[in-house]
Symmetry: D2
Subunit: 317 residues, 4 copies
């Protein structure tokens, strides 16, 4: 394939990623110089990684792209995907698809909506989705857990949980247990609370590198074309829908701001990772541990904002 036929100008992408890594490095080392950017002055030293897989099959990485981190809430994208593939639209009988307008661990909304979580990316929503996965038939065709899916998408059988993260959350996730019990009180949890909490905590503690996470997100960059689905499957429709959920609900209570600044469907985790999709173009993973007040990676968001602008990838024009 000639270079001009490619969807992404890989040289421009390479330069953009290098620029971003350099800039993030400066922020790390010279926090003072970044004082005018709100919040950044507090970061003395930080780590940063980025990986971009294009629709053309190229992988461009920068910084700590091979450092594994717990994906935390990013796992909710994959569990939702498994559930949608297995159960289709019945998923939406048990979980809504509206932004919550409340901090991510809020239980208020759950009570107001009688145990139906507002969307699959807030904790109770993901807990209900995990509850569904426990009902997958034994002979289910395809992955049954987020780990299975991530192994399949990345080809790395070694993917496992971050033990420290798992132990901490398994024993102390009282707010999550509160929300799981609220769902159960409203008959929206089929299994015992503890039977659901185990795989829920499990998937949150899975550790991936940026490189692996970008690979795992490739299925979300499939694009339909007008007049039919050229890739001959329901996958483009699934990707479109998951991307829509990510854009409206993916960054906790900062989703509107993220859409405004970055303009890409994305899902963040409190481990500092973000998976972002440029539909039809690229799957991007960034990681940097320091979080903003909404629980999203500070440098990760900034890097995606720069990448989106440099590459013209915003879905909003």
């Amino acid at each position: 394939m000639a270079k001009k036929e490619r969807a992404v100008d890989s040289e421009h992408l390479r330069q953009s990623v290098d620029d971003i890594v350099a800039r993030m490095g400066i922020i790390e080392q010279f926090g003072d110089a970044a004082e005018h950017i709100e919040g950044l002055a507090d970061i003395e030293t930080d780590r940063f990684g980025i990986a971009v897989v294009t629709v053309d099959g190229e992988m461009i990485v920068g910084g700590d792209a091979d450092t594994a981190f717990p994906i935390q809430s990013i796992s909710k994208v994959f569990s939702l995907t498994i559930a949608l593939r297995a159960f289709g639209d019945t998923v939406w009988k048990r979980v809504g698809r509206e932004p919550s307008g409340d901090p991510f661990n809020s239980i208020v909304d759950l009570e107001r909506h009688e145990g139906k979580p507002r969307n699959p990316f807030i904790n109770p929503g993901a807990i209900v989705v995990v509850d569904m996965l426990l009902d997958l038939p034994k002979k289910h065709d395809g992955p049954r857990t987020v780990r299975d899916m991530l192994v399949a998408e990345t080809g790395d059988k070694e993917i496992g949980v971050d033990r420290a993260v798992f132990d901490k959350e398994a024993s102390s996730g009282f707010t999550n247990r509160a929300m799981a019990n609220m769902c159960k009180a409203f008959d929206n949890l089929n299994h015992d609370v503890e039977a659901v909490m185990k795989p829920y905590v499990d998937q949150c503690a899975l550790a991936l590198s940026c490189r692996q996470l970008a690979l795992a997100g490739r299925y979300l960059m499939r694009k339909q074309t007008g007049g039919g689905e050229p890739d001959g499957s329901d996958d483009a429709r699934l990707a479109r829908r998951v991307n829509a959920m990510m854009l409206t609900c993916g960054q906790y209570d900062g989703s509107g701001d993220f859409a405004f600044r970055v303009g890409l469907p994305a899902k963040s985790g409190v481990g500092g990772g973000i998976l972002a999709i440029a539909p039809g173009v690229a799957s991007v993973a960034v990681w940097s541990p320091t979080l903003d007040e909404n629980g999203n990676s500070l440098l990760g968001t900034l890097a995606l904002e720069l990448l989106s602008e440099k590459m013209g990838w915003s879905v909003f024009g």
Copy 2:
């Protein structure tokens, strides 16, 4: 310009619009046949109009595309645009950009956030924006009101208010007055409540046809390209940002569902109109008076869902 160079296949668009108009007509006339689509059974007869302006400059219309209707909340897109052009990012000091997660006329959120409306598309947010417009300097370059802007964008100096709508809302908008007073209680309204309510009600009562509304939305389909802004202005950035707000907050409490089904930035009004943008491609206006439970046009939303799918215009792939 050769046809293949066009951004939009106008024949395919023409066929798609015709298909949609025909289908909406069937729903109007044979509501029974549409019973399996939730909510549609209640519609005995309804009216429907559509207009699409492409980035190539073509206008394709169908149904009641020249019937004027009050644009209501769609006016909030234009008042926000004027404010952003005049005041830039200082707008965001007085209004947020997060989905509200509450019904559109909720005052709860306003109290929780100390008089700062969650976003510019809920009523109190738009009221605060109108309050800003009253501070525009006398010699302001460009439109000072939504009407001025609509006249400029459509070239129709006859655009005016729907008198019945204006009279009704001017005298009975008690919830809006409650919210305006709450903003003022928190020092987030510079002018007297009644001084703000007048132009607010005014812009909501402006009556446009689909054809006019699609023309008025053209500025929002401008697309940046990677590596620079080819149209040499801040307009692409503005469009991108307004589109982001429309996608996350544009359909009241049904924004997530709309993103999921249609996948286009859009703003609805209780007059039955919706303005939707396919960034870089088209500006679309639809109108049909029957509303769903969230206050969005039932047939209008369905028509946009079909159009987006037929044309492959979803921003999510």
Copy 3:
């Protein structure tokens, strides 16, 4: 009548009041010594007044008992009384009688309960009651306004509004106007918002001394006796009901704490006054300007706590 037949041992009461005034004086002058009482350390100097009218007709006063202060929310007791006498139980169709569990100016509750304020002592509840008073027939027998009632109960025709208080609230009560508009939005306000705000602000700004306020509260100490109403009127029943509302809802968001500490039906105002009733025994007014975090007089509450304990007046045993 022999002294032993009196309901109240007036010597003991006299001593108790003197003790309390002395103790309040010490707190004023030697704030440091009071540091162990939470909140009191902040008061450098403060003023304090108290007046007690017994069922035997005695008046015992102390401190600044003749200084006039704006009664503010205490006026709500009197407007409720006028409304209950004129309209009976229909009052409760437009206002509830449950504690709000929210800060006193909260609008949240109002929205949740569709414009029906939780009780007549939160601002929107009192606004609705004032709206009722505007519907009193021209030839109404008895007082039509709180001022009329206070003049009748105290015999002082000079009672008037504190001009500074009136002017400030008349022009800046935006939260109250927000709540009035919310009531009107739910059809729970018959008159124009401004037509109701005027007498509402008026009654809040009325200025009384402790002596006058204690006199005005006498009608609330009437006690029924088992087996019939010895005073031959509905007044005991009215007093019982108003006292119940005062005990459960009279101190904003601190009503439970006040019942726990003082054990008397009471209503406070942000002017620093409190009217408290020992049913069948006494009407008490205290005043001291410094407020606690719930908006109740700090020294006033402490004084009532001491008085209740010294005299054994708690209704709870």
Copy 4:
């Protein structure tokens, strides 16, 4: 002791109780005749019991006064009493004393107040109190559990749990578990959730008759007298405080209405029982299974309203 020296006219009380039982019987048998009393028309047949213990030591009963029923939330009065005796005012560091203004199983308030329940009579408040009781020292002087206390107060060692009630709640109290987890998430629960749920469900399932419950409530009718505590103990102060909590918070979201109609400190349970106290005069227990919309016994409340009026026992005059 001569009859005139008694605090309560026992003949009048006897007649009043008989009247009430007769009237309740009529409502049971001829529901139609009671149609004008809201809610009563739905009751075809119902059971009713009443027991009154006076300060003079007399016990007067009527109806099904010896039928045992699960005391449910009435147990919260006794667990609070044990905690206050053992830990004094430190109890209030972990639980508030304000009415909640929300339905009794609401979790919203708990989140807003960071895991500190609004008062000890809503479920999470009682759960926190039970958590405290688990910290009682081994050699604690006095009852360690509600059952121990009830055995001591009634002299009946056979008091036990209603097995059916216990089993149902032990396995299905998901909302309670949600609230317990919320408290634990905010570090306001020392023991494991399940370790607290067990004794909590246990005390709710304890079954008592009206006769027993009235006996158990005797300690709450102790009255202080002005100028000192004649019964030489802190018991009067304790009773006064528990009574205050019962009056402001004892009937879930109907506490204000109950104070208005009955005017006595009381605590209801969803088993249909109510314990009411006339301070210094009597301890009253009523029981009737049908509940009003707030979860309080319909006939029980009505009976107490009649008794309070007939005997002149309202604390409000």
